[in-house]
Symmetry: D2
Subunit: 395 residues, 4 copies
Amino acid sequence: MNNTIYINTNKNQDLAEKYAQIRKHSEEICKPLATEDYVVQPVDDVSPPKWHLGHTTWFFETFILLPHFPGYQLFNPQFNFVFNSYYETVGARVIRTDRGNLSRPSVAEVYQYRKYVDDNMNRYLTGNSYTAAIEPLLQLGLNHEQQHQELLLTDIKYILGHNPLFPGYKENGTPKYADAAAVKMIAVKEGIYQIGFNGSDFCFDNELGRHKVFLNDFEIADRLVTNGEYLQFMEAGGYSDFRYWHSEGWEWVKQQQVKAPMYWYFIDGKWMHYDFSGLTDIDWNDDVCHVNFFEASAFAAWKGMRLPTEAEWETASEYFNWGRRWEWTNSAYLPYPGYKKEPGAVGEYNGKFMVNQMVLKGASVATPMGHSRKTYRNFFQTHLKWQFTGIRLAR
Amino acid sequence: MNNTIYINTNKNQDLAEKYAQIRKHSEEICKPLATEDYVVQPVDDVSPPKWHLGHTTWFFETFILLPHFPGYQLFNPQFNFVFNSYYETVGARVIRTDRGNLSRPSVAEVYQYRKYVDDNMNRYLTGNSYTAAIEPLLQLGLNHEQQHQELLLTDIKYILGHNPLFPGYKENGTPKYADAAAVKMIAVKEGIYQIGFNGSDFCFDNELGRHKVFLNDFEIADRLVTNGEYLQFMEAGGYSDFRYWHSEGWEWVKQQQVKAPMYWYFIDGKWMHYDFSGLTDIDWNDDVCHVNFFEASAFAAWKGMRLPTEAEWETASEYFNWGRRWEWTNSAYLPYPGYKKEPGAVGEYNGKFMVNQMVLKGASVATPMGHSRKTYRNFFQTHLKWQFTGIRLAR
Amino acid sequence: MNNTIYINTNKNQDLAEKYAQIRKHSEEICKPLATEDYVVQPVDDVSPPKWHLGHTTWFFETFILLPHFPGYQLFNPQFNFVFNSYYETVGARVIRTDRGNLSRPSVAEVYQYRKYVDDNMNRYLTGNSYTAAIEPLLQLGLNHEQQHQELLLTDIKYILGHNPLFPGYKENGTPKYADAAAVKMIAVKEGIYQIGFNGSDFCFDNELGRHKVFLNDFEIADRLVTNGEYLQFMEAGGYSDFRYWHSEGWEWVKQQQVKAPMYWYFIDGKWMHYDFSGLTDIDWNDDVCHVNFFEASAFAAWKGMRLPTEAEWETASEYFNWGRRWEWTNSAYLPYPGYKKEPGAVGEYNGKFMVNQMVLKGASVATPMGHSRKTYRNFFQTHLKWQFTGIRLAR
Amino acid sequence: MNNTIYINTNKNQDLAEKYAQIRKHSEEICKPLATEDYVVQPVDDVSPPKWHLGHTTWFFETFILLPHFPGYQLFNPQFNFVFNSYYETVGARVIRTDRGNLSRPSVAEVYQYRKYVDDNMNRYLTGNSYTAAIEPLLQLGLNHEQQHQELLLTDIKYILGHNPLFPGYKENGTPKYADAAAVKMIAVKEGIYQIGFNGSDFCFDNELGRHKVFLNDFEIADRLVTNGEYLQFMEAGGYSDFRYWHSEGWEWVKQQQVKAPMYWYFIDGKWMHYDFSGLTDIDWNDDVCHVNFFEASAFAAWKGMRLPTEAEWETASEYFNWGRRWEWTNSAYLPYPGYKKEPGAVGEYNGKFMVNQMVLKGASVATPMGHSRKTYRNFFQTHLKWQFTGIRLAR
């Protein structure tokens, strides 16, 4: 994981290069796609790739170019309606479940939109209008783009991995894992610890307010749960024994008739899974992936353990490797002490989601380089499993 | 409306040419589309254009080539799963509401599929394996393709006409109408009449069984209701007076908050509508279009009239012009006396839908040439209005 | 079945007695109930018994006493909101699905309401204000009460028969049937026949307009399908073979996982059913009951036959016994030629339901005496089966 | 609020008396009800009063009498199916949404059931079979009964308060409030505090594990938000300004068209509310009631404050009065450090609900005497508002 942050520069040229580099990466992610793959939305939580490409562009246009670059002309005034995600401040928008119904703007038009905005951003960043006061907004826009790079990958996987033809995305040679070593539990002593961001680089507002927490003695695993261990849970009847599940999770299991992680298919007597190369054998030593909070909790209960809290995870994180899976914690996504929403549309970024979601720590194989840190607070609802999510045990 | 039927020939070469001509027309309909337009399914009743192109091809492959052309190899064995519409006889299929979630097969692959099947059909029809016994199946396949040509147009209109950018399909110069003449009522005397098909050309099985019906004296309008007349109904409060509506229709009006035909938009103080050239002014003398059975019935009730029955319509049809709108009747879609489903998958074509739908007579501007006759029994559910449907009054 | 009609009298005293007699019968039906049984609404289509008792009373209060009996004071002005069923003309009302949420008015209050209205009706009918012009309304009110007497029985059966304790309603000694004779088919010749009501007694407006119909040759069974015959259909896999079903019916079978008529339970290796005495053995020679239109059609298709039309049924009805089951026909519920809705609330009685329902002919064991005739047009939606419905075959 | 706990005694006679006293209180709550009021379930979250009476009885029968009282005979073996709430360990059960469909067992039978179980409990507690090892279970059963006493009151209020006739429950003379004093903020210094139960009396398992927490400086209001203050929020447009709401809360407001707390009705130009005496004027100085978490959070945001966490509340609770409203906190309902579910059915009591709910602290006017303590962790989902819930501000 390359944690180098290039953003924090006071040279405009560097900023413009960084901007170009990050923007280009989004397009590279989409290179292997057929035009048709850009369009569909098989479930509400998955957005069409062309929507991601347009929405991240709209962010720069709406929050930077339009208010700050004199003389900027909108590419298309109706795109605000199409590409606004959830900013009530910025007006009406296509409802989220309808994104997959829009054949237009076409993919080509979306790329033209990107080029138009990128050209203007380049002129803006390297010209006289740019002032350092804009940098936080720019950083937010770039980190926002990086978040959508991860979503592009998870959504592409969903679109291709649920197609009955199981088309591959690219032959990326999923790395092979050596035999998983026996898990070791790292012990941490009770005491006052500090969590939250206190650096000078970029972070999201929800990480701010480094603060003290009191932790009891705890132990946390030095590695993630593997596919093989998860299979044991399945074969031990984990999905049919209510005792391991939250009440709401058990309803979910019964109603959806869940039997395995997402992308696992039982074919001709054995479990296979879809990964980006197509339908393939499962590497049993690899970290289990695509489980939701209910499943992560049930697995931990079956093991007689539990999930760590986010404070435990952050405190212990220097003693283990992380970054291959977003790791479910047993902490609800709530504001840190002293958290304040910023005024205006940017204030809608994080705060309004602080209810009925759980925190995930770490990063995943889909997280872009330079976009991970131990204070990062990712969050999803408890039933969702299309992200690259995994399980680390604690007790 | 060109009612000439070319199908009924005993020369193979002619058949092959007719086949090619009809097949080509489907592709011509799709020419103005962007690739993205082929993919989406904004509501359950609308299928993605690429699905129509694949499904009609699958029909020829499944019912003609596979059982009757020795040595035929399937283009792709998984396509049966993707392109079967509702034939339980032929195995599992993608559920109808999921068609818009499939980015693959790509549009290019669907066109390859068409070419592969068309090449084989040409070899089959002009070769030795073809026998006249197959002709009814071939005719069914071609008429099936023509039905989907109309659906292609209605579905394309839905896809583009519900996109917030209102892209045009083609500049086809909607014909302008002279002032609508005052409507005249055609009087028909009571007596025994005959309805149903008795020719030697192709017809669907639901038209068969020409039979006697007893009709009372009735009168039927010589022309369709216009946009201007429908606007009067709207302005007289037709959508807010329950007395004109069926109970089920009234629930639909209230729940959907319906105020106008489909594709009508109230913009800057006036009603406009989407037609294939984009968002345009309404021609008030043109026939009202895109109303459902509930609306057609309510309009008739407001006028103190009623809709004709299918027997009345067919009996009187020689005395008026028809073919621009599918005309709602007040007849439920039920079997004619002596109706028999054919055995096998082909028997699923019509019979199993004979409940809770209403008959529409005539044809529309979207109906392909050579695909209309007065005995045709079109049918849709009472809430649907995305077809080119209109209103003719009776009393 | 006693078909004598007492209604048509010109003596006020007789009318008052008839009124009292019919009103009393509704209360006798409810005698075996516990207070709690009056209150619940296990599914939308079933109304709580106390609602039936109140609603039929509201009908007399609203349409007769209030407009026609000088000085009449409403029992409780809020009862219009509670007991209006579907008359839009008469104002707002509790939505149908909420009837089972109302613990008040209590059962005792409903009986007080009945007594209050009955006392006033008696004074009205035997006093000077009554004029013969009111008689059609009175007859409608009494026939309306009789319709709800049948609904009371079907709804009580649903309430008790779906309770896990299966409480009995009363020990009425279901009559035992002799061995069912082999079915005979009655042949009717093609020709012009007349159907519809033309007597001088009461009938509903939907029966009016006696008119000619042309019928082809047909045959109709002299008796209903028995439980034993229906069991053969079940054991032959009728519920798992799509070929016998309408498309919409097949969806219903799969979604609801239907395996048998309503009230049949498979217990310890044999089929039993709930009848009014509790959970009991099935009499295999008795007429099958509680099947919906989809099941009736599927059974007929399995037999290689069909359901009769309503015109066939009415024409042939003098040649067979009827009255134990409402018999599904293959006729949609549509207006007879010349049908006109009456103005005002009474006009909402029948006409607005003439869409997406099927006609049932005859009467049932739950129909009150004096409330059946061969021209009666009962109607229900195709998925409903809590009425006492049965099957007569035709071909 | 009487916080005396009588439970913890080692004399059987005292236990039996305590049992009798608590059990009697449930029946006293129901005294003002009509039989019909015991039966209905207007929304899923509200259970019929007779179900509460039966379910609490079932708890003693199932967990104490059946396993521990030799020779005990079940009152009715089918009652396990009817009165089990959510204990998967104990077998199948009527689904929660169906409770209001059961007219039987009758109210009289439920009271007989109570008497039968109470008589047996009395014989058991005063006899030789009873051993001190059972006391924790007994205490749990009694506390469980007390929880359902509060639910009885909230559910009765819902049943009567949503009836269009607004019947009163009893004339209990809601106490009048003096003018609300200006709110004072109580300041608490940062540091390590301890929360959780550590007494010797009864508590629920979710309160156990007294543990240290680190708190930052905070301030908390000395009184609850009043109806008058909440009205200001409403009149300032609080329900139409998305900025105060969580994203999920804003969806709820829009979808449900919420405008006020539950039981508030805008009648003839002024706000009134339903309380147990019927539809009455609102005392503007009384604590606001029947708001959900979304509303409590939005109100706090409008005030520029926030809700307290449960640790803050518990730490500061000795400095303010509490007990009239369950007070929403901004803490998710999650396990305390070291929390362990007990084995068997009793272990299903609390742990399996520890997801997607928020903690409420304090008690309410509906909480029975002897059933409140500052460590109590009540919890509900964020959209629910039929409990007696209120708002205390913090910052």
